[in-house]
Amino acid sequence: MAAATEEWVSISRPPTRREKLADLGFRGLTYVVAWLTVLLVLYIVVTIGRSAAPAIHERGLGFLKETTWDPNKDQYGILPQIWGTLYSSVLAVVIGTVLGLAVAVFLSERLLSLFVYRVMKFCGLPSHGFWARLPDGLESLLKNLIELLAAIPSVVYGLWGLFVIIPLIRPTCNWIHEAMGGIPLFKTALSGPGMLPAAIVLAIMILPTISAISRDALVSVPPKLRNAAYGLGATRLETLLAVIIPTARTGIFGAILLAFGRALGETMALAMLVGNANVISWSLFSPANTLAALLANNFAEAKGGQVGVLMYAALVLMGITLVVNIFGDLILQKASGGGKGT
């Protein structure tokens, strides 16, 4: 037959010259863009550093220890702002960890699915088709709702703090202040914006970060460990406290550090809620100031020398957030790399 004498036609062929060039070109492009990303961050650091250089030269490290911020007498010091940034972030992390870890545990233990399943069984609902997917559907709905907390813009959180949180906590706080004013934590009255409302709103803002990363850490604990604990007769609480959380502790710690880093850099909500007063006070109800809020409020009006000073403050803020974020990242890497248990 005629077909038997035809040559095979190959479907595949070696790459044409154009394809080879395009390949090399594109891979070179990715290499260049990767470098650009690194250079961008360096450029940002250098730009801010360069504007801050005259102020650094003039004021040195004393800038970090001074407490007066007086543009008229050319006296600048950011110790109150550093204090405010750290104090508000630590408070926020404490509150946020309690809530965030609880959410993470709730999600990782699939308590919602269990509860819905028990209710379904109790009501005698069928367990196939739509109903079978209901518990898991509700579980992922809950997970998405928690993630939506992170989506709300900072300025809307500021409004919420001003119009909902402050009126809500003011009576209680002033009652506490009157009853226990001797304790340094309650020394001043809550006249409006202050440390506590800011810390509460900040805690809600960082809660999704803590819960998402902690949940990942808790879920990645090998099932064998969990089942072994249950097999030995441990209750849920005992399993969590003795086995699961200790195994996931590196991841949880990394989550807390990263959330701390986020809290340090938060600007708008704090600018609206922290009170903009350059004071150092242990009182939860006292107004304070943070580095980010200082920048937000003063940058537009800064003239000449003041710009350098603000850039110095920006550099300090950048330094603090960088250190915290790098630590958090290193710890998370250790957690995902080496903490796999068995």
Binding site: P71, N72, G192, G275, A277
Partner: protein, 354 residues
């Protein structure tokens, strides 16, 4: 994800971008359009914005964009040349003007009073003597039932609670005018903190802008702070009655403000301060507020349009002042400012006249 779905999703933003770029194209063609950009004081901002919007509605080819960034930022913007005009409650000093090589023309556009608004339940009128209100802001008077306040308010029950002072966190012409007045009536105040756009207050919680102070006062029981009259009127905050130089207690109204301005004559450079007005009916804290234009503009169209807009503000615009809580300019002042508008010229015109 199918290709069609991806494409249909991407089409929406593409549509937006196309419509927007079309509007850009059409915007670029019109040769008559002039856009003026200004920034500065928050004190007169509501009035300026109303003027500029009314003018643009009557003259659609001219758009004036004003942003309320604060008097200090307005002066800086004029010096940095990032705007076509600025606005400030504190007229620029000669040193500040010297930094601008295109020259600066200051034009008073309107005037306003600064009031002490307060939030005290059950106290509907509050009279403060000069000593009392200076000492509140010096931190010497800390309770509402202090004798210096009680003596001016017989028959009024004042609570034994702290006075929550609210001051400005940002650089502000309102602060400048207020501290100038306080320094004029008290030597202690003049020494520290003294007259300043951003004084080093020893008391009080800080809020940003007239807006921030208003909302702080309205949400904090027992608060008192200094804000512009229009803001207090709009937020329906209670205003104190202050004792003036003649010893009389005067309520802040448009009439008492006009009485205060009547005592000050406007010199040729159009800068005048009224730190402590004379006159029985004068309200003690008033100020003009200025728009700063350059004396030379590179584009003659901008200079011409700016002069038209400012003429409108000085004539028809003054009708809007009272409703928003500003003091209409006295007629002699209007004439002087209109004459000063002639100093704004384009560089081309200058070269021609040589």
């Amino acid at each position: 994800m199918t290709k069609t779905r991806v494409l249909s999703l991407l089409s929406l933003p593409l549509l937006v971008l196309t419509t927007v770029s079309c509007s850009f194209l059409s915007g670029g063609d019109a040769k008559d359009r002039v856009k003026l950009e200004g920034a500065g004081a928050s004190f007169p901002a509501p009035l300026y914005l109303k003027w500029f919007k009314s003018y643009s509605e009557a003259h659609p080819e001219v758009k004036i964009d004003y942003q309320s960034t604060g008097s200090g930022a307005g002066v800086k913007a004029v010096q940095d040349k990032t705007v076509d005009f600025g606005a400030s409650d504190a007229a620029m000093s000669p040193e500040e003007i010297a930094k601008v090589d295109a020259g600066v023309q200051l034009l008073p556009m309107t005037a306003g009073s600064i009031v002490l608004a307060y939030n005290l339940e059950g106290v509907d009128t509050l009279k403060l003597s000069r000593k009392a209100y200076v000492n509140i802001f010096l931190g010497k008077v800390t309770k509402w039932n202090d004798p210096s306040i009680a003596s001016s308010n017989p028959g009024v029950t004042l609570p034994d609670s702290n006075i929550n002072v609210v001051v400005r966190a940002d650089s502000s012409g309102t602060s400048f005018v207020f501290t100038k007045h306080l320094s004029a009536i008290s030597e202690d105040f003049a020494k520290d903190p003294g007259t300043n756009k951003m004084p080093n207050w020893q008391v009080g919680t800080k809020s940003k802008g007239n807006e921030g102070v208003s909302s702080a006062i309205s949400t904090t029981p027992g608060a008192i702070g200094y804000i512009e009259y229009g803001y207090a009127k709009a937020t329906k905050l209670k205003m104190t009655t202050l004792q003036n130089k003649a010893g009389k207690y005067i309520e802040p109204t448009i009439a008492s403000g006009q009485a205060a301005l009547a005592g000050a004559k406007l010199p040729d450079d159009l800068i005048v301060w009224v730190p402590d007005p004379k006159g029985d009916d004068a309200y003690p804290i008033v100020t003009y507020t200025w728009i700063m234009t350059y004396k030379k503009y590179a584009e003659p169209k901008k200079a011409a349009a700016l002069k038209e807009v400012l003429t409108y503000c000085l004539t028809d615009g003054q009708k809007d002042s009272e409703e928003l809580g500003y003091i209409p300019l006295p007629s002699e002042v209007v004439e002087k400012v209109k004459a000063a508008l002639g100093n704004i010229g384009a560089e081309a015109a200058e070269k021609k006249s040589k």
